[in-house]
Symmetry: C2
Subunit: 288 residues, 2 copies
Amino acid sequence: MPSQKPLVAILAPGNMGAAIGGRLVDNGLEVRTSLAGRTEGSAERARTAGLTVTDDAGLAEADIFLSVVPPSQVTALAERMAPVLTASRRKPVFVEANAVSPDTARQVAALIAPTGCVFVDGGIVGGPPRQGYSPTLYLSGPDAARAAVLGDYGVRVGVMDGPVGAASALKMCYAGINKGLIAIGSAMILAAGRAGAADTLLEELARSQPNLLAKFSTALPDMFSKAHRWAPEMEEIAAFAGADPAAAQVYRGFAELYARLAEDSPAEAGEIAALAAFAAAANEEVSK
Amino acid sequence: MPSQKPLVAILAPGNMGAAIGGRLVDNGLEVRTSLAGRTEGSAERARTAGLTVTDDAGLAEADIFLSVVPPSQVTALAERMAPVLTASRRKPVFVEANAVSPDTARQVAALIAPTGCVFVDGGIVGGPPRQGYSPTLYLSGPDAARAAVLGDYGVRVGVMDGPVGAASALKMCYAGINKGLIAIGSAMILAAGRAGAADTLLEELARSQPNLLAKFSTALPDMFSKAHRWAPEMEEIAAFAGADPAAAQVYRGFAELYARLAEDSPAEAGEIAALAAFAAAANEEVSK
């Protein structure tokens, strides 16, 4: 018996959600979403990705429900879907695929448990799918394999041998290294600029740490529009690192830094402008 | 008129000081040091490097005096040398080459000013000289060029166009990026281990961040014996970053982390052992 194509639902059609949905559509799946409370940008992304727009009840008819939202909206989304999932006869596998701490993932699992749906912890490592590239959707928990079928439709899937929380922990650690590196780079480049040492820092990095300089040249500009999302993600990592008070302090500092950068206007001669100038010079140096 | 070879003094003959001294000796200079209050290890390093052992008065006869000590000993060394430099007729150029904040460098400048010696701010970026490699001794301040002659004797020198404090700032920023990266790597690898996600983190880094994994594979083991020195260096960076409270918080967190790792015994199944195991596995992965 050939396995049937799964019907997938994704909330919300943000940059990541719409791109993952689009990848699944391109590989032959029907992917539903809802635009309730979303902007015109979401509607445009959903259209471009070929998602089917429906209401929450329509989402609850899916085989797999993917929650892909910013950390601050994770619990609200589960609370919104819980009564609809409870009423649904299909009982989709609920995949919590967000950048949240294992504790938050377990809280969501507790919200979903009474609905009768199976819960899978997830974590998306990497950027949105693009030509020739897929991020990896890591899955963990006793029912992780129930969502692994997505791997047959163009999205890279990694099933972890661990409980609910393991995939979220992996996402926290990976983001903690990558976005932490961009945070310390930003902080030290800004400090060098205040001290009149930015040019020499760039030269020295070009000479002795070319890989890091290359990373900064692209990752800094990429961060500017995302800092407002990264700030709460750093708070999640601080909570995740709770058993290590030093690490928790570090990630609360990163959250504060990203929140400050998110407030900064690129149009003014502020911190974003200083980082952009460094990144542009770094890019020139790296391209030599 | 050919310029005369400068007579150099270095305190102390630690790993960096002895190696820089040895490099200058190998290139034809006489380099003096003192073993007052130092361990047998220092005596051994001084012998191996070919340094001339003398007393403080003998050091004060040098043309260039290099202060190369851990951050915690910087002010004490300047206080110890001040009366001897005051008494000296040679008045060596005093190069403060340590990993300290610009404020600390300016405090040392103030201690040296009454001696009549010229003060140069310095910062050593990179590890001790070894076959085919030299770190860069950055120099700043109005008299920076007075110590640049060292560049003719096998040590890479970078004269910065900035005041006293600029070279220290550069050192802070460079160390802040490099040692900060190792700190966030350590924190997240340990957190992944606690959550049972360390193996998958290693696989994912190997796939999507091979440069970072390669760095961790060598930089983590290299850090274990240095964490006790890096902790106060992170405190200096926190002080340096003072105008940026978020960054200061981050570097105080790194100081706490390194202080904790310095207390951990490699012989026990603790954090150092966990990081060593990750680094060994990373090294195997990277060598594939």
